[in-house]
Symmetry: D2
Subunit: 381 residues, 4 copies
Amino acid sequence: MQLDVYTSGMALNSGDASPSTAAPLGETTHRPRIAVVGASGYAGGETLRLLAGHPGIEVATVAAHSSAGKHLSEVAPHIDLGHDPVLAETSVDTLRGHDAVVLALPHGQSGQIAAALRAEDPEVLVLDLGADHRLESAEDWSDYYSSEHSGTWTYGMPELLLADGTRQRDQLVGAREIAVPGCNATAVSLALAPLLRAGLLDAERLSAVLPVGYSGAGRAAKQHLLFSEASGSASPYAVGGSHRHVPEVLQNLRRATGRDGQRLAFTPVLVPMSRGILAVCTAPVDEGTSTADLLAALQADYAEEHFITVLPEGVFPSTGEVAGANTLRIGAAVDHRSGQATVISALDNLVKGTAGAALQSLNLALGLPEATGLTRTALAP
Amino acid sequence: MQLDVYTSGMALNSGDASPSTAAPLGETTHRPRIAVVGASGYAGGETLRLLAGHPGIEVATVAAHSSAGKHLSEVAPHIDLGHDPVLAETSVDTLRGHDAVVLALPHGQSGQIAAALRAEDPEVLVLDLGADHRLESAEDWSDYYSSEHSGTWTYGMPELLLADGTRQRDQLVGAREIAVPGCNATAVSLALAPLLRAGLLDAERLSAVLPVGYSGAGRAAKQHLLFSEASGSASPYAVGGSHRHVPEVLQNLRRATGRDGQRLAFTPVLVPMSRGILAVCTAPVDEGTSTADLLAALQADYAEEHFITVLPEGVFPSTGEVAGANTLRIGAAVDHRSGQATVISALDNLVKGTAGAALQSLNLALGLPEATGLTRTALAP
Amino acid sequence: MQLDVYTSGMALNSGDASPSTAAPLGETTHRPRIAVVGASGYAGGETLRLLAGHPGIEVATVAAHSSAGKHLSEVAPHIDLGHDPVLAETSVDTLRGHDAVVLALPHGQSGQIAAALRAEDPEVLVLDLGADHRLESAEDWSDYYSSEHSGTWTYGMPELLLADGTRQRDQLVGAREIAVPGCNATAVSLALAPLLRAGLLDAERLSAVLPVGYSGAGRAAKQHLLFSEASGSASPYAVGGSHRHVPEVLQNLRRATGRDGQRLAFTPVLVPMSRGILAVCTAPVDEGTSTADLLAALQADYAEEHFITVLPEGVFPSTGEVAGANTLRIGAAVDHRSGQATVISALDNLVKGTAGAALQSLNLALGLPEATGLTRTALAP
Amino acid sequence: MQLDVYTSGMALNSGDASPSTAAPLGETTHRPRIAVVGASGYAGGETLRLLAGHPGIEVATVAAHSSAGKHLSEVAPHIDLGHDPVLAETSVDTLRGHDAVVLALPHGQSGQIAAALRAEDPEVLVLDLGADHRLESAEDWSDYYSSEHSGTWTYGMPELLLADGTRQRDQLVGAREIAVPGCNATAVSLALAPLLRAGLLDAERLSAVLPVGYSGAGRAAKQHLLFSEASGSASPYAVGGSHRHVPEVLQNLRRATGRDGQRLAFTPVLVPMSRGILAVCTAPVDEGTSTADLLAALQADYAEEHFITVLPEGVFPSTGEVAGANTLRIGAAVDHRSGQATVISALDNLVKGTAGAALQSLNLALGLPEATGLTRTALAP
């Protein structure tokens, strides 16, 4: 019998861009059991929110650190898993015995736990929402982080088209250690990679200014994150190149182009919204480069990609259009007067920027249809 | 073959409160075809957003008035139906031939269109998101609206428990003309009805003050709805009893208690958020009435209701916990010093207050599981 | 020589309602020296913001506790005093030798410091922005606060008209210990007092629901005050009568009417704005009471009051109209259908609710024109 | 008698940067009479808000177009002028006989009115808040505006330091036709000019991305400006170089450097705040350029400027720090990894970006102390 596969209540579109060859969902008798660590934070919470709507996964364990012992409803009252679990301690004891484990932990901890779990079960899939395993180069790591490099896991950005013509997706199918990308890095990398692959931008003079929402700063109580401090104000931070997403973006651009030497100025600006990243990227272009050229390059790389929309000429994305959805929307234009291109991408930092990306990679790793549990419909207004 | 029915990616809970005896979804070969009118407004748009995730419905026609001719992506870029329809004119020609039609029209128009459609197909289900058919009494109507009473349709509030012990749900199963309730009316009616049925509140001195979000005011461009006007300000409106949701609430309370004479002061206050209604209801109580009494009465009426959560003593809802979800959360307390009860309910005006309620009733009317396409998981932060 | 007195750049209106008989400003050769404690919090910061524009006061010392040693520009970059003082420790040593001292301290500390200062200088004026000295009854205090009653200072609400026909203002002229009222208490007391004096409301069934801004919750970093938690949500708190402003309001109403027995339900609701309180008060009224009656009573008590505006029939205030100004705006209406009155007042919690009220009382106490340094013009949009 | 001059309640600082040689305020017996046109819009409204606190000006006439006949309190309830004028029609009849006239009109109208007024009184000071008279080059005008060039008036940016070492201020003293700069143009021009004068930036690869508040878009009711549309979203506009502030910036940079050839990419982004512009400017720099170099150049040009603050190394401005104040705050840094400088300025679009700038120039033109009626203290939180 022909099964309709419904994910998050939305039928997969024909022409779905997920090339994975997963068996139809309905015929799976065993639902993978997952443990989510960091339930009381925004990244862990968003992972649970999406899993609540994922028909192919069973949320078996929800763990936290300082919130261990509380009920999920106390830290995340908006999530309905069907039951209200007590948050378990984060330890190998509570995390063993799952098919997949999603870690939202402070720096330096994910590698240790993963190693312990893998020692017991070589097949367990571990996804790190943190930065520890994103960078390939230990030098890059020490350049930006004041700690030891934890190692390199499979980078969780399926749509990234690499210099050799393969897509990062191929590496995620069946992967067992996945480093989920940084949210800002996703917005900038996916916007710029096709244009740099096509040689359309001055790769040594890239600039990104990103109005971002406050959930990206986490749930720890800090004064500058208070509503009264944030309301009615635009506040730049990490000005001058120190943002940790920069080496990640540059690594992606190197892998996408097969070339070195990209240089990126990067300025995030906190603005009064809770979700969203608008990556406004600029770079000089040659005299003859047109808007159509930019869009053609973006279309060439992303036309088949289910979660990426390249907008028509003259149309640019707003973050409100993607709130709660696993989409990335990109617009681009050449300004002949200034001789620069402006490329703008919008995503939800918690979805396509974090938990949605995690689920997308998890689906690939476990052999489920890539879009399972993920929607392209946002919550608006 | 046993089919798992997944709605919005969330398995229906055991003990699901939807008593409808619908055939399991997976065995339905014909998906009902629906037309949605008013796609460029917030109510119509939200209906489409939810339908995008409803596995049992085919969105066949999307119509508008002044936006006819535009693509849906121009007026609602956040919605992914799988295709980008051109908005059709609103007329019997475009609306005939569907199993269900959802109308979000200005006052006075829905009855006419419904009559024309029913003349051709007596079985068509028509749902009115507007107020025209909510009131039973023509006198009530003319009291609050400056127009002629359009008639009375089946009121779309399944959870309302009536004085005779039946639930409004029973009237919605198989219904063909459904008046979707007003959002504020839903928040206040469901909060107060059990307490008035139990005789716990002074029914002649009910008061409701409702911080509400701006999407409830619609998408028409009016100065007082501008971001600059609304930002950083709390603005009361319809002060002094003229709000049109009052007769609707009173009608519900009469039907719930079997008694007359309820009196309600009602003051909505626009606050800087786009979604949400927090109905803060107060009323004098007798000396011996306790918080436990209130919660017991609420629990008695709602314990089996899938979309209503009665919170434990000392816990009160925030609208952020229900944004994007079809839930209503209620908390209550008696303040012995003042001799008054405070009952607080929170819902998302566009979901449980409008489009979610519409889908809930539509599911009942069409014989689908009541919760199809509806989630209890909200979008937060 | 006739001097034009300009306060905050705005000439005092003819018919100015401040009956104090202060000597004209221009003839004062000595500007009082003030110390402000709690500069890194919102109340202390707002006091400095207003003092920066007060021509008759010299800000001599700015003190803090945990922020001592920092420059003012680090904790309050928006304030220009003309110099950037280093925050001093809060101690008798740093606070002696001033004409006035404004205290924004945690509970229990203001009385001790004031006593020590007064022992050295009986003439020093001390203003307490905190709650310690607002209540007359030690029983009231222990009822709501879990600490010992610190004593009772002169209550800083000039406009409060008392049962004996005198105004609280009279007690503030020349006062030396002033308890600045609570912000919510100000909004509710001034809205209700004239109506209760005129016997127009059922004093035993008063209810107040107050959408409030987040700055009223202070600057301490707590999770529920984070932007991501607050954004897009209305959150009630202190539901059920435990709010500490209740005994303060009741005390004011007793003093205003000369009667006992008022009972008040009180529910504040945090909404996504940083400043503002909208006190939405309801109470049953007699059959024959009209809107005009309410407005007449309000006008009778406030017509001469510079900082209070009674709005015409049908007009109600929004908090945005008073942001940054020292004004209170009141609207009222009787709803004959419900038999209840709705009285709505709006103020800025940091200005008329805290620091503006402090300056108003300080002016009276020091013999300066009451409106010195205070404006009725708000910042909008 | 020596008079203390208090503006907006704040004493002018010693070292005040206003070189105008105005007579002390207190000795002026005649207060200039001003007419403000466009009272119901944000620019006109903000002008009135500031004038309400300007001790040296009498607001004699308030005019509007479609709002003529209404009281000021109906369109701007937050402003207290001491009286509630009826808005007059905008015509030569109502505007004649004033010392100064401030025009906030749609394109193409200011020149006509100014000419008519000047024909009657050659000495009348006219300030245009609109764009009509900002550009020197008719070609620039037709390049960006679809209308005829209205002419060139004295550009109202006192702090702009020109290539010949004089400051624009000198041209404003005694001026009679003033074109108030565009808000975005102010933020970008003042941030970049000193650095270009010092040759520190690649003038052909300038880029500015500006998170901006919604009040800059005006008060006309348009769908995209609705609260529900704007809330929770960052929305770019005028992408690709078409923004009308670009020629204005380039003109300022040419006049500041004495050189041609600057090229500027310019992308404003509407974010959910009502006031504020954060101009995030980037440009490539030479290998040896340091952050200290940038700050030194900014300090060199602005050290004596009362309303401009150059922040120390590592400190960057937020727009919340300047809301309601007439200040511009600038931070800068060189990122050696990318080889680019990031220069960030913050101002309040309605104050330093529009009405404050107008008053600053008006003071100069009328011979009043430049800072009269203007404050450096902002409203926060």
